[in-house]
């Protein structure tokens, strides 16, 4: 075991996969000499050279398209979006090109798009978004959202080895703020498998990404009130671990879904819908959601704080649900 930050977990997966498999290469803006806006790719160009760590022109559609073309020819590209917000510039390439090739003519498109996402860093409307729900709605893509350093590494390794386009949402707020044990050597976290971060019998909290930590903190506080919330970290959104979600909710009878992305049309709606359809008989209360409010991500700290879910907001929802 090695203790790593979330950021180091990502870097370590990239480095090890590039060593293991020479078809793996990285491309993106400023990822070479500069090591990326967040220094995730630091040191890679020194080790692997400029034809495996490509500094690209500022053109997201080209970056994703080039990755797709290289993937079709047998390479295994890992794209870095400088911020996940810029994925909208490559939207067509992702949802209509990469995602649909295998279904249409059977070729494999093994590629990863790393998207530094999320708020809480006063980045304003264009450096804070959580765009996962758009891609969650696109058959042919996989979507993963690590919450720990170990998962950051293990899910990226799995994504690189996957033969499909994988959207990898790494949360910027976690980069240097969390540290945990990462198994040495080959560490793969399978895509599509959730993990219970905290057992509990009174309610199920379904969450992912940075909100895992917020929910854990809220659950600690709730415990003082004699109520045990179970925290399910989905880890993957597409495919997601439906069995784990249903099993937990069927056991606890109550479900709270928490995500940082905005509420209406967020992925939480789908989880709520599935619970309402498939665990209906077990429900002892309404399916609740805590999410960001339905606005762009505002810039000024008091606004952003109001916008985002917080420990207090999650705790209040937990208490409310517990009291139901």
């Amino acid at each position: 075991m090695a203790v790593m930050t979330y950021l180091e977990g990502i870097n370590s997966a990239l480095r090890e996969e590039m060593r293991r498999d020479e078809r793996v290469f990285c491309l993106g803006e400023d990822i070479g000499v500069y090591g990326g806006a967040f220094k995730i790719t630091k040191g890679l160009i020194e080790e692997f050279g400029p034809l495996r760590v490509l500094d690209t022109p500022l053109s997201e559609s080209a970056i994703v398209g080039v990755a797709t073309g290289a993937a079709l020819m047998g390479m295994r590209p890992v794209v870095e979006m400088q911020f996940s917000d810029f994925i909208t510039c490559a939207f067509n390439q992702v949802v209509n090109m990469s995602a649909k090739i295998h279904y249409r003519w059977g070729a494999r498109v093994p590629m990863v798009i790393r998207c530094p996402s999320g708020g809480g860093v006063h980045g304003g409307p264009f450096h804070s978004q959580n765009p996962e729900s758009w891609f969650f709605h696109v058959p042919g893509l996989k979507v993963v959202t690590p919450a720990t350093a170990a998962d950051a590494k293990g899910l990226l390794t799995a994504a690189i080895r996957d033969n499909n386009p994988v959207m990898y949402f790494e949360h910027k707020f976690l980069y240097r703020r969390i540290k945990d044990d990462v198994p040495e050597g080959d560490h793969v976290v399978p895509i599509g498998v959730a993990i219970c971060r905290r057992p509990g019998k009174h309610m199920s909290v379904i969450t992912y990404g940075s909100m895992v930590h917020v929910c854990l903190e809220a659950a600690e506080k709730l415990q003082a009130e004699g109520c045990e919330a179970e925290i399910i970290d989905l880890r993957s959104l597409l495919p997601f671990d439906k069995a784990a979600v249903l099993e937990s909710v069927q056991r606890t009878g109550k479900a709270l879904i928490v995500h940082e992305d905005t509420r209406t049309g967020g992925v939480g709606a789908e989880f709520a819908a599935i619970i309402a359809e498939e665990a209906f008989e077990s429900l002892d209360g309404p399916v609740r959601r805590v999410a960001s409010i339905d606005t762009p991500v505002p810039y000024s700290p008091p606004l952003e704080e109001f916008f985002m879910p917080s420990v207090d907001k999650v705790l209040a929802a937990m208490q409310d649900l517990a009291a139901y």
């Binding site: 290469f25 034809l51 495996r52 490509l54 690209t56 022109p57 053109s59 559609s61 080209a62 970056i63 994703v64 398209g65 080039v66 990755a67 797709t68 073309g69 290289a70 993937a71 079709l72 020819m73 047998g74 390479m75 590209p77 067509n92 390439q93 209509n96 090109m97 649909k100 090739i101 295998h102 279904y103 249409r104 003519w105 059977g106 070729a107 494999r108 498109v109 093994p110 058959p139 042919g140 996989k142 033969n163 499909n164």
Partner: protein, 338 residues
């Protein structure tokens, strides 16, 4: 057919690349052009009989571009054709049966009924399949040629775009990326004067689209797109340049879309005289005349090719009509690769 007064081929037929072509190569190109034209005419009649799923977009009048260009590629090179480039697929060995199954939405087709038109790809043959969104294939083709640089195989990627598609952002992003990394890439603008109903003066304001080459720092060439040998020559040089590390080439081939945008379109918006002028320059008739003038296409051979082509098409149509449609639940298959 040869009743019409046909313009001479004004190809630089004495260019080295063209002179190096054997008689068989020339006849293969002729055959591919005939196959393309006749196959598409069959599609048109099947469309009228209501047998085609979806629309039919023919490349009638543009056969010299797709056949001449694809003939300049090596087997290991990458072809990324667009919606009027059936000819390029035939050059690469596309089987009429497969193509017909594709148009008829059959399970035997290359997309197993999942997609239509020219949207298939064959990764074993280094053929990339387009999506409808014009321009989207450009960066993908660039990426494929980048892979060719990385793996040392120096595979040249050849991709196409229309006068209309040239306005899309990915034309710019893709070509710029290709230029910066000097990948072995050839982009052919098939300027056939219209994008659906939109004439070129509502599409761009530069004189020629090849004027864009300098802005990317890539080689630019203009060519008579109705002269298959001229197209071949320009493309051959571009492919060689690309393979030798000379970077991308942007080629503008001037031609004319001789039928509607798709078969439901009677192209009322195209001046009749314009079509009349271009008919004189029909790429197949011109090439045929050239071959005949040079005693390369005796009437017996011409007839034989014609017979073969038509027989293959009959067979393909017959085969496709007898082939099963997919079963509904097959829709669930293949969303993800293993």
């Amino acid at each position: 057919m040869s009743k019409v007064l046909v313009e001479e081929l004004n190809a630089s037929v004495h260019a080295d690349e063209v002179r190096a072509l054997a008689k068989n190569d020339l006849l293969a190109m002729y055959r591919a052009m005939r196959m393309t034209r006749e196959f598409e005419m069959r599609l048109v009649s099947l469309y009228r009989q209501g047998k085609i799923v979806g629309g039919v977009y023919t490349g009638t009048g543009n056969e010299a571009v797709s056949v001449g260009s694809a003939s300049a590629l090596g087997k290991d090179d990458i072809l990324a054709p667009m919606h009027r480039d059936l000819g390029a697929l035939f050059v690469r060995g596309e089987k009429p049966r497969d193509m017909m199954c594709q148009y008829l939405g059959r399970r035997n087709g290359p997309t197993r009924g999942k997609d239509g038109n020219m949207h298939q790809g064959y990764i074993e043959l280094n053929i990339l399949g387009m999506i409808s969104h014009l321009g989207a294939l450009i960066p993908v083709a660039v990426g494929a040629s980048l892979a060719g640089l990385m793996n040392g195989r120096k595979q040249v990627a050849m991709n196409y775009i229309g006068d209309g598609g040239s306005s899309i952002g990915e034309f710019h992003e893709g070509l710029n990326f290709a230029a910066v990394y000097k990948v072995p890439f050839v982009l052919i603008i098939e300027n056939n004067q219209f994008a659906y109903s939109t004439p070129t003066h509502l599409q761009y304001a530069c004189k020629d689209l090849v004027d864009r080459a300098v802005g990317y720092g890539v080689h630019g060439e203009m060519v008579d797109g109705n002269d298959v040998l001229a197209v071949y020559g320009v493309c051959k040089r571009a492919v060689e340049r690309a393979r030798d590390g000379g970077g991308p080439t942007l080629i503008e081939a001037k031609t004319m879309r001789m039928r509607g945008h798709s078969e439901h379109d009677d192209q009322f918006y195209v001046p009749k005289e314009l079509l009349g002028e271009w008919r004189q320059r029909d790429p197949i008739m011109r090439f045929e005349k050239y071959l005949q003038d040079h005693n390369l296409l005796p009437e017996t051979i011409r007839r034989e090719i014609e017979r073969e082509v038509l027989a293959e098409i009959d067979d393909a149509a017959d085969f496709a009509e007898r082939s099963p449609l997919p079963e509904g639940p097959e829709a669930l298959e293949g969303v993800y690769a293993d």
